[in-house]
Amino acid sequence: MTNVDDPAIERPRMDADVVCVGFGPASGGFLTTLSRAILNEDGSTAIESPSAPGLPLQVLCYERADDLGFGVSGVVTRARGIRESFPDLDPAQIPMAAPVSDEKFLYLLDPVGASCRPALMRVADVAIRAMGGVLGVRDDAMELPWTPDFLAKHGGLVLSIGQFNQWVGQQVMGSGAVQIWPASPVGDVLVEKDGVVGVRLVDQGVTKDGKPTEGFTPGMDVHAALTVVADGPVGPIGRQLDKAFGIPDGHHTRDWAIGMKFVVDLPESCELEPGTVIHTLGYPEPEIFGFFYVHPDRVASMGIFVPSWFDSPARNAYKYLQHWMLHPAIWRHVKGGRLRSWGAKTLQESGRRGEPRLAGKGFARIGEGSGSTNVLTNSGVDEAWTTGVMLAEGVLELLKNKQPFTAENLEAAYVNRRRKSWVDKEGRVAERARDGFQRGIIPGLIGMMATGLTKGFLSLPGKSVPPHRRVPTFEEYYRGRITPEEIQAIRKESDAKGISSHAALMERAGWPAISFDGELLVSHQDALLLGGKVQAPDGYADHVEFIYPRDCESCGSKICIEMCSGQAIFPGENGRPSFDREKCVYCGACLWNCSKGNPKDSEKGLIEFHAGAGGLHSAEN
């Protein structure tokens, strides 16, 4: 794929002390803590650089996206770790931040009749409708009388991650102690003997297949005593480390979700206060949870999570997101508003069970890609931040005592610290919280409640399997609702048009067509292009790779096409999917939405997701 292994290519080399891969909340926590210790108040050096004597510690962070603000997700967080790092934090300093003021939990009934609900749920729906008056059912939704404690975010903050990352980046860069480089994707980790010695940046000036052109610039090798990998749940460097050093026994990353969301300018008539947090469940499909966070100035982030245990081969977040937004209980707040931006991202839902090797010789891992997300409370930002802080504290200790970054030293200084922290403690409570969902939505909800209320003592067991082993065929999924012949016909027509099939299938299955109003309801591509917001700088190879294209030819389901958040993967020639980098938002859905297993690694599908530049380009996400 890349020219990585070609020994004939001469690569420039640079030496630093610490190199970070990825800039998000985890790197934010790491660099904030580290940068404060590198220089003294008067600007003189407090920690000298071993690699460049006379200079302060040389710390570099390489981020793939165009700019630091281009992350995705409106979040609500209890911000414990973040507040510890910024004791005087005033939410007004961070654009779009608001303290949590109100929290609601809504069970959404199905106003349309197309939702695929288990029998028990249908019974409950009937009962709820019947007792509507008593239960306060309004706009086809029932508000739970209380928010379970383990989900509640009191004292927390509603944030735009894009704005938060930008703000943190500014603070960190303003210290003058650390360099953060956007538009610099890291392609490979450099492994020598039994440890990591640095990273290699992605080659530039290549064709989409990775072949050098006239302007070929080989990616530089950056050597450092410590490589901090913070590249998120779908980061390729994390996966390379897993391959090189293995993952702990019994651990796996089989559970995922796509979070897809809109940022909306709420209509003047909207009465929701900034800091309002609404969680939803039950619609458009029972497996799909929704969220609605209100920022200041009448702006809201809202969206859905489509999990890997939602066993539909035609799952696609965008259409479901529109139907969710049209649900009366949501629509009543947004009708008359205007869509501002859109984004999508993969979430790691295996939590602590997805924890890889946290440290080794010359490397350490932090953030969502290190299994820090709490899958019971559905929080990840503060946890990621705190793992970064803990690593920095450990690193500073080692530097002070002039100890090398060996596996043992990092275990002692970082991993042990992490084990004793609230992140790990609460992560252990959460570890089995979602197992029940493997069996269905009802067992899952029961299991989650049980785990939450007993603080991890009880849980409903359920064994997860890699996504490709659980996703059914179209025929199986639509049995009883659409005939195999009709499915064939629809798919053939969609293939000929070069588009995915889920829209047509959903309509055929009873979902009403959505008429676009150009304000809130727009086509998928229009959402992508809202203001021209997906970038694909030229000179980079395609970062989505179909490993065995011949196998794709015979693939019946091609859920990669259905699930692609940006419609960047679409039907191509001979039944092989095609990839258009100009539409890719780097959500990573393709990584876990392949219906075939990889013969060389049973945990994986047939799509590899490499590093690349560009992608979603919006600071409000």
């Binding site: 064709t207 150009g518 727009v522 086509s523 229009d526 292009l529 030229d538």
Partner: protein, 344 residues
């Protein structure tokens, strides 16, 4: 009371251009609105010819700086001439037609006179006895209307504000203003044009034809048809005598090793870092889902688009008509019909 001056360079022996005549009309309008007169100032090798062409425009005075050294477009000499003329007229408002030659110097001239300049003026009005201009900010995304206190106020006005002045030529009584050509180390040595068969930019064309990335992408039948695209586009430009604009992505594609249209350069790019051409009509084709930043289309009057996607950005409020069709087929037929009509 303002002292208004219409100021423009001239080309040897030529009458004033359409843009200049429009600026003259705009100047006259302003003077009338303020209830005052205006003067005309020209410079160049032989400004008398140009002055005679507008002899009956109603100017109180005709001033000129004459000389071979002032013939060529060049900062030092143009600024010196303009400065001398503005001082001689004791002008408080100076109006010139926007164009590369005046745009090059007007701010420098204003600075010398202790005043301020505004370029790309798209409207001139009087409110409460005070002149105000309209101009665009942030790449034509927003329009501002403003007045300035400082004088002289030096302006470059775009065409389209007022119809070109028309009147009978005569003999203008031109006062020569002395101006010593300043020392300068620069001189114009020539003009470079793109090869005539590739002259695709026609600012005076009635129609702007904008090509998007969809022309070079795979068509519904799975084929890339770049040679055919080239033929159709160049044919249309010739037959419709249209000017060619392009979306950014199509211009950028030349760096990606994809089949591209050989005659496209970044000079054709419309919008964003491209140009904002002025045409009565605009036809957009194959936008390939690109958000039609009407940034570049600000001054295009009637807008139509051809795209295979009925939900593309043109369909909602950005075009007058969107034809959902295959541009290859439509333009092919259009060229046929145009050829019949024009016998070309």
């Amino acid at each position: 009371m303002e002292t208004i001056l219409f100021l423009t360079p001239t080309e040897a022996g030529s009458p004033l251009s359409k843009n200049a005549l429009e600026a003259l009309a705009t100047t006259k309008q302003l003077a009338d609105s303020l209830g005052t007169t205006f003067s005309v100032a020209l410079w160049g090798d032989d400004p008398k010819a140009a002055a005679d062409g507008i002899a009956s425009c109603g100017a109180a005075k005709f001033l000129a700086v004459t000389g071979a050294e002032f013939a060529q477009p060049r900062y030092a000499t143009d600024a010196a001439a303009a400065e001398a003329l503005a001082r001689a007229a004791a002008a408080t408002i100076v109006i010139g037609p926007a164009g590369s030659r005046w745009n090059r110097v007007l701010a420098g001239v204003a600075h010398r006179l202790g005043g301020r300049a505004d370029s790309h003026v798209t409207g001139l009005s009087v409110s409460g006895g005070v002149p105000a201009i309209a101009r665009w900010y942030y790449r034509q995304r927003m329009e501002g209307i403003l007045s300035r206190a400082q004088r002289p106020w030096v302006l470059a006005v775009e065409s389209g504000i007022a119809p070109a002045w028309q009147g009978s030529p005569g003999s203008a009584a031109v006062e020569t203003v002395a101006c010593t050509p300043p020392a300068t180390r620069s001189r114009m040595s020539g003009i470079e044009s793109p090869p005539t068969d590739q002259q695709t930019i026609r600012p005076d064309a009635d129609l702007l034809f904008v090509t998007g990335a969809g022309w070079t992408k795979k068509q519904p039948d799975g084929q890339v048809k770049t040679p055919e695209a080239e033929k159709l586009i160049l044919g249309f430009l010739r037959l419709a005598r249209a000017s060619l604009g392009s979306s950014k992505s199509l211009v950028d594609l030349s760096g990606e090793g994809q089949a591209t249209l050989t005659f496209l350069t970044h000079m054709n790019q419309v919008g964003q870092t491209g140009s904002t051409p002025r045409h009565a009509k605009g036809l957009s084709t194959c936008c390939h889902g690109e958000e039609p930043h009407t940034v570049g289309w600000r001054f295009v009057g009637e807008r139509r688009a051809i795209s295979l996607d009925p939900n593309c950005g043109w369909s909602r409020g950005k075009a007058d008509v969107l034809y959902v069709a295959d541009a290859f087929a439509v333009i092919g037929k259009v060229n046929e019909l145009l050829a019949q009509k024009t016998g070309g």
